[in-house]
Symmetry: C2
Subunit: 378 residues, 2 copies
DNA sequence: AGGGATTTGTTTATTGGTTGAATTATTTGG
DNA sequence: CCAAATAATTCAACCAATAAACAAATCCCT
């Protein structure tokens, strides 16, 4: 029974409709008139006008020159997301680099800072101090542009609990790390890199509302998007696809089990099996085993969740043409419903920045989803 | 971005709060006063009174004698779900029987009709005519009790599309069957039996808001409950756990692939492997293979969805003591997060009627979730 | 040029719904 | 028998969306 157990008052109505108007504008490719927002959202023109006034006053929307005439009638004033309103800082810490970026409300990346360097020898505190320096630098750059930073989000390659604690990030050597203040009091959220990369792909557009993003790096993770929202699971640990069993008697995995997907389709496993040193040297023949294993795991996801689209990211994105035959064959064979609706495999559109951009996007998204909260902040 | 893209008006506020009040009463074990509802829901006493008036007028709630005195002050009038309000008819059609039941708003089963008999030789039209007879009979029984039947739900062992069409029910021999009117114009919904059984277990209480129900019958299906709501997937075909790959080179399955879970833990596979004729004859030693296979599949579900509780139903419920060692060992080995939060395995509390009761419950649930829609019906 | 048609955006009175305070109702305890 | 306590109702105030009228700005046709 889910009446979400919270009472609704009139102010909630306004909060909801503010978000509705804001997102209608956000989802429109071109500037859009108040009247068009009303038509698209189902609200009255009068209501939309009132809500838009608030959103403009809070610098979430701006009016731009009307679009070229299109017939009779008073010309419309165009609305679009304000490029000088709240912004998000996205951070990523990974095995061999740390990075930060600033994205404005429209999703455009305004600044990008990358510091290569192995993060593994450092202990967590040192690594966090480094990422904090980057975060503060990004914040200063944003404020120099006249932006107000609404928050900071950090992408880590590991399991993140609901309260932001990093339970374990094997490739960083982290265990039970609490991420404190990173940017001088700004709210910080922490999330798994695959989750954030999935959100990033969602924001890039062209995807259905439900899909799975599979990130192939040293480890293999997945971000599950259901109906336009990230599915995190009860404790935030969903998407551990790397340890799905592909063959119960397969090679032992560092997780303690045998035959995990990672032992077939992880970066190191693929390079070792092919006897080459870099991903670029891999050929189609080298990838049959990895492709079949991936196909088996993808089939499991599709059979369980009935999701029709799989986005392959990380090292899989450039390899997809080589992987596709093996993956496709296995998926078609194993997905019960493939007959009625084939599973679509796509390469990720965003490159290695996906997780970091997704982190910045998560901050922005929180403003777009609750503009009333943003407007009403102290 | 999910502002659900629908505008909210004041009437939506009332609809939501009606549901909130109704569900607050429904979730209370004992009769509950208006004041207590106000305290629990966060609404004002004045608002609760007004909403309760509507709910009583629509015979969704009734006032009962106050609970025994508990101190000074005017005694409270108790509220509880009306046992003579709307009711749901639940239907089930399965390989060797068909059945119907009537449940009132409180969830109590008021009537129960079962007709054993192999449904397989019949074509779908004949089977549907039979179930329709049962449905009408159940409706008459309900109306003789003074109940108003709000709708009918049918549980089938197969894939059901969003519009209620049964794509395929292998063990019934159905393909693309459209279920029409079954009970003289009452609204009919159709759903997968594992989904409805999962809802039934949820309603029976004692479970966390997210769990997976695994139904072991001739086939193996799963109902996935996330945050108290059934997860159906994009097209309604989620939970096809029976065809998860347990061993890529295992025995061929009727689905065309190899090594599906059903080939290890399906009823027929288990009996064949043990060389016995009935489930009751199975011993722990017979079930090691099935248990390991189930454990592997459950680990996949938990790794993907981060769900901490698995309910085993159908033939697995009585077998759980024998299956548990093998399942548990495999799950602990394969679930990445087992260290922090062990996976709990439970036997289903409801017997073979679970799906049918879940169907009746789904009808009732639709009223409890949208009382405004029920009150405002023509 | 000029007048009607057309579309955008704002103003105003109305309606629906929650809130908070005051009021009424009903009990226990001294 | 009266005060204290708790439950439920009544009523004025307020908030937000709506519908309809109105104002603004343009196009198009004669």
């Amino acid at each position: 029974m889910t009446a979400s157990s919270v009472p609704v008052r009139q102010s909630s109505v306004r909060a909801h409709n503010l978000a509705l108007v804001l997102q209608t504008v956000a989802n429109s490719a071109d500037p859009i008139s108040r009247a068009a927002v009303a038509a698209a959202s189902g609200l009255t023109r009068a209501t939309v006008s009132a809500l838009v006034d608030d959103l403009i006053a809070g610098s979430l929307l701006t009016e731009v020159e009307p679009a070229p005439r299109t017939g009779a009638g008073r010309p419309a004033a165009g609305l679009r997301l304000a490029p000088d309103g709240p912004a998000g800082v996205g951070l990523e810490i990974n095995v061999d680099y740390r990075a930060a970026c600033v994205a404005d409300l429209t999703g455009r990346v305004r600044h990008r800072l990358v510091e290569p360097g192995d993060q593994r020898p450092d202990d967590a505190a040192t690594a966090l101090a480094g990422i904090s320096r980057l975060a503060l630098q990004a914040r200063r750059l944003a404020e120099a542009d006249g932006l107000t930073v609404a928050g900071v989000a950090l992408a880590v390659p590991g399991l993140v609990a609901g309260d932001g604690m990093v339970r374990v990030a094997p490739n960083l050597g982290w265990h039970d790390v609490t991420v404190g203040d990173l940017a001088d009091g700004l709210p910080v959220t922490v999330d798994n890199e695959a989750n954030l990369a999935a959100l990033s792909e969602l924001a890039a557009g062209g995807l259905p509302p439900s899909f799975v993003y599979i990130s192939g790096e040293i480890g293999i993770g997945a971000g599950i998007v259901l109906d336009g929202a990230l599915f995190r699971g009860a404790r935030g640990w969903s998407g551990e696809i790397g340890h799905l069993a592909v063959d119960p008697d397969g090679p032992p995995c560092r997780c303690g089990a045998r035959g995990c997907l990672e032992q077939y389709a992880g970066q190191e496993a693929m390079l070792r099996a092919a006897g080459v040193a870099t991903v670029a040297e891999l050929t189609g023949a080298d990838l049959t085993t990895a492709g079949r294993a991936l196909g088996t795991a993808i089939a499991a996801v599709v059979n369980l969740l009935d999701i029709g689209t799989v986005v392959l990211g990380g090292i899989y994105a450039p390899l997809l043409p080589l992987l596709r035959p093996a993956i496709g064959a296995e998926v078609d064979r194993r997905v019960l419903t493939a007959e009625w609706s084939p599973v679509e495999l796509r390469a990720a559109r965003l490159g290695p920045d996906a997780a970091m951009r997704g982190a910045a996007g998560a901050v922005i998204r929180s403003v777009l989803e609750d503009p009333a909260g943003w407007l009403g902040r102290a």
